[in-house]
Amino acid sequence: MKPDAMATVAAEAGGPHAGAPPVSVRGLTVSYGDRPVLRSVSLDVPARQVVGVVGPNGAGKSTLFRAILGLIPADSGTVRLFGAPVEEGRARVAYVPQTEAVDWDFPVTVFDVVLMGRYPRLGLWGRPRAADRRAAAEALERVGILEYKNRHIRQLSGGQQQRVFLARALCQEADLLLLDEPFGGVDAATERAIFDLIDRLASDGKTLIVINHDLSVLDRFDLLVLLNQQVIAFGPPAQVATEENMRRTYGGRLTLLDRAEAALRERTTP
């Protein structure tokens, strides 16, 4: 599909919400059992931006993604994708999970995995056609691992494995991409290649939200979300990544809220 044709489709898909931000989160609170993970998170991610999400372990970064994708119920708050409810907007979203969560012994080849990206277009009863196979091959070409397409996923290096899942997201031709730690376990060259790909996607008009652990590359993002259960700060890296904010994000001290939760838990559970 040509870029302008794609823009038309995107505008049509957007319909009355064409100008709406790709992700709009309002007062989102999510908990696992009685342990809150996200507290009253509000975010508007503008289109065509590369947004980095940073925060310590357990800060709720992956939970934020799961909530955006409608995979976990929220206690309160709303998520809208391109101005529409999650169920309608999710067709325009691609999600790249952490490679640690992947079953590497599953009997699939690289090409099989990338072709899975066409599922939203095919539906439950559809079967991939020549056009879908072409799209999968193009996606593999773009991430530079087309030559490995017939290999089993186990027979790839860490960086190549990461690219397989990026290729699957590309193959979805989504307008919003959520990448959960794409730089985990990859070498410096792959990290550069992935950043180049991210930049190219952004210049193609895509919006990307990237969970990231490497604090040395924060300036590569257009916007940063500092997250630790709440949004500590959200804005351009130069303004947001201050020493004070980083300390508030990564500081180990329990907040009064945490202590209140702990006290409540003690009372409600035997």
């Binding site: 994708l69 999600y95 599953f106 009997p107 080849t109 099989d112 899975m116 095919l122």
Partner: protein, 435 residues
């Protein structure tokens, strides 16, 4: 032994013989069960649901018994309905227990299905002696209990299973491989899960008299696990698993038929045999290939050790040294060194005359590579990995075989000239005589 043989002979004449119409009917029915179980088993294995498969099959027993009590017949439709209700109740109870107590899901499964199974056994025992309900046939399968009705039932269920899997191949593969992404794409992952469970229950119930409830789970997971050892694609795993299931079921049924023993155990043992063979002979993961790879690696490392020892033992280039000395230095047996030497001679790295070894020029170059690699690794371990001095030699003995990395280590370390023991590290292009 004679008694057993006589018994078999007696059964043979008493009951139908192989290739009779009766035998065909039962074998065809069991092949259908084997194929359906094999195909569904692939998803059970890949989704790690072996325990829940076992639970479903055991839990249908009380449903079957209650249906029999109510209708007073072993008509397949009534039993099917009873089993279906029992299966759904089990699934719901498992969810209830794991959500409303501290119990983890696997324990919840164990608690619920054993309770159901126990209830089924007690209900059967409570029935009068005169009733036509053969417990053993439902527990372990009986070749003679399989009738035309069962074959008809299986001829409906097996094609439904296969067609569903073929039609939903892509969604099922995605949901099994990556359930989170499947859900993110808007797929109803839970519905597919219950569809698989439903198909599995239907297969178990339709094949009830063919396999029995106790061991049917083996027909689900064992052929699929055997196929998993061999296949790199899901469709090839499905085909192999179906074939293994069919073979195990047909052979098991025939054995049970001829010996008039329960069918379930016979089928399971054939399936297990197939699994054992794949475990040993799988080209990629098999134990046999692993042993061959280990043996080849050991031979490769030992011959490199021999080259290095001959080099270290020779005072000057081209000097001879005894096989026994090399054996002592490498810790290998004299016979082993002799065989390795003969092989190295074939590769023109070594000359051997009457138990005396001498390096050729090519052999000398390779030995120097090994020495260089060993000393570089020692330096690296001491400088970078901070390994204790008395451990670095042993570690380097192993690592030196990764000599293709030598240049990279040298570069990382800034081309050191001596190792931690003060020995000279030969330069990479060292092709001249030993200094």
């Amino acid at each position: 032994m004679i008694d057993v043989a006589a018994q078999v002979m007696w059964d043979w004449s008493q009951w139908a013989a192989p290739l009779s119409e009766r035998w065909w009917q039962e074998t065809l029915c069991s092949v259908l069960v084997g194929v359906a179980c094999g195909v569904l088993g692939c998803f059970v294995v890949l989704r790690r649901m072996a325990l829940i498969g076992d639970a479903l099959s055991h839990a249908v027993l009380p449903g079957v018994v209650i249906a029999f009590m109510l209708t007073g017949s072993t008509g397949i439709a009534g039993l099917f309905l009873g089993a279906l209700i029992a299966g759904i109740t089990t699934a719901l109870l498992i969810r209830f227990v794991s959500q409303h107590s501290r119990t983890k899901e696997d324990s919840a499964i164990g608690i619920v299905f054993t309770a159901f199974f126990a209830l089924g056994v007690i209900l059967i025992s409570s029935m009068g002696r005169g009733t036509h309900f053969d417990l053993k046939c439902f527990l372990f399968g009986d070749p003679l209990a399989v009738g035309r009705q069962d074959l008809i039932m299986m001829s409906v269920v097996a094609p439904i299973v296969i067609l569903t899997i073929v039609a939903l191949y892509h969604p099922l593969r995605l949901a099994s491989f990556d359930p989170t992404v499947a859900a993110a794409m808007g797929m109803s992952v839970a519905k597919l899960h219950y569809l698989l469970m439903g198909l599995l229950s239907a297969t178990v119930v339709a094949g009830l008299k063919t396999t029995g409830v106790v061991l049917v789970v083996a027909m689900v997971i064992t052929p699929a696990s055997a196929a998993y050892q061999l296949a790199n694609r899901l469709w090839s795993m499905l085909l192999l698993s179906a074939a293994f299931g069919a073979v195990a079921a047909a052979v098991g049924m025939s054995v049970a038929f001829v010996t008039n023993s329960p069918t379930g155990p016979a089928m399971v043992l054939v399936a297990t045999l197939i699994f054992a063979l794949t475990m040993i002979f799988s080209p990629r993961h098999g134990l046999a290939m692993q042993a061959v790879r280990r043996w080849r690696a050991a031979r490769h490392f030992h011959s490199e050790d021999v080259l290095k020892s001959v080099y270290n033992l020779s005072e000057q280039p081209g000097a001879l040294c005894a096989v026994e000395d090399v054996a002592r230095r490498t810790g290998l047996s004299v016979g082993r060194v002799g065989r390795l030497a003969a092989e190295l001679k074939g590769r023109q790295l070594l000359d051997e005359t009457e138990g005396q070894l001498r390096l050729t020029e090519a052999g000398r170059r390779q030995a120097i590579e090994m020495v260089r690699s060993h000393r570089l690794w020692e330096t690296y371990l001491a400088d970078r990995a901070r390994i204790e001095a008395d451990e670095i030699h042993a570690a380097a003995e192993r690592l030196e075989h990764a000599h293709e990395l030598a240049d990279e280590i040298a570069q990382t370390l800034g081309h050191p000239s001596h190792d931690p023991h003060g020995e000279v590290i030969p330069p990479p292009e060292s092709r001249g005589p030993n200094p």
